[in-house]
Symmetry: C2
Amino acid sequence: MFIAEKGIDIPAVEVDLRHEEQLGDAFRAVNPRCTVPVLELDDGSVLTESLAICHYLESQFPDPNLMGLDGQEQAMVIEWYERTVVDGFLAAAETFRNRAKGFKGRAITGPDAYEQIPQLVERGYHRLERYMEALDQRLGDSPFVALERFTLADIAAFVTVEFAGWVKMPVAETWPHIGRWHGVVAHRPSASL
Amino acid sequence: MFIAEKGIDIPAVEVDLRHEEQLGDAFRAVNPRCTVPVLELDDGSVLTESLAICHYLESQFPDPNLMGLDGQEQAMVIEWYERTVVDGFLAAAETFRNRAKGFKGRAITGPDAYEQIPQLVERGYHRLERYMEALDQRLGDSPFVALERFTLADIAAFVTVEFAGWVKMPVAETWPHIGRWHGVVAHRPSASL
């Protein structure tokens, strides 16, 4: 979604997560953490964290700006990106991966087999609700998540709201400000890729 | 540690975590997430994520550089900061907070009371070991964590290694490259504050 918003064209290799291609030797040689996404730079170095990848792309392709124009704006984008990942996205992953049959023995991303822990299903769901409450309050005060305009923080929050749908959380119906904002973001061409 | 490395002077307010001051009304009015650290800016806006705080301070006080000089360097710092937080620091917190008596009903930071889950003690410990293996491999190839010089990534990793000591993981003895690097970082004046 970040790449689409930038309007740049990067050679892409799909990794078949459904068939656990990320755990195979070929992908492991690229990223031993066995996670996606990965960005390989021209000098061969590899970035495996979304925020690092986006920061690098922002530095190379500054327009349109998606991560803030000055230090304070950038800090606000990082603030909401980090909150969204830790309080929202990881909570959603916790409830989803500890419940879904397809994730038996795969409760955490990466090369190791971690068994599901049933108590985390409820805990993750509750944590995700608390994140949505905070996001809704924020979107009552601000048209977009971090700044007055669309940024990476909106992408992270949008993906987290979509992910919440996987665990049947009725986000847009429950939290009106998120509902309003979600409708706006969902209409961006980058959201339908 | 970041502020000390910058050599800047910021008015500080200590929050008494031992007596749960972070859960009281006064602190909650500043940060409803009930977490530290927090940076209040002159315009009243508040940052509650360490990476956002450091990014803001780096933009205002660029010397000495602690987060990279160009987009690629900065991306490497963010890469290792994020890996350290998610794979290392949060894993250490998971094993520690789910075991220590003082954290009964406080298994996750924030305003909500989450009960300890015994299975997370072992899982967190194992995840932390895997992070240390990856860090050790990295420090076999590079004098410091993200770049050839000391950066924010070293601060995050140093704090995580110290935190691992709380759960009795003998990090410096087990992983020789971490041991070498830890000795270097521990001698910085900022490490003894």
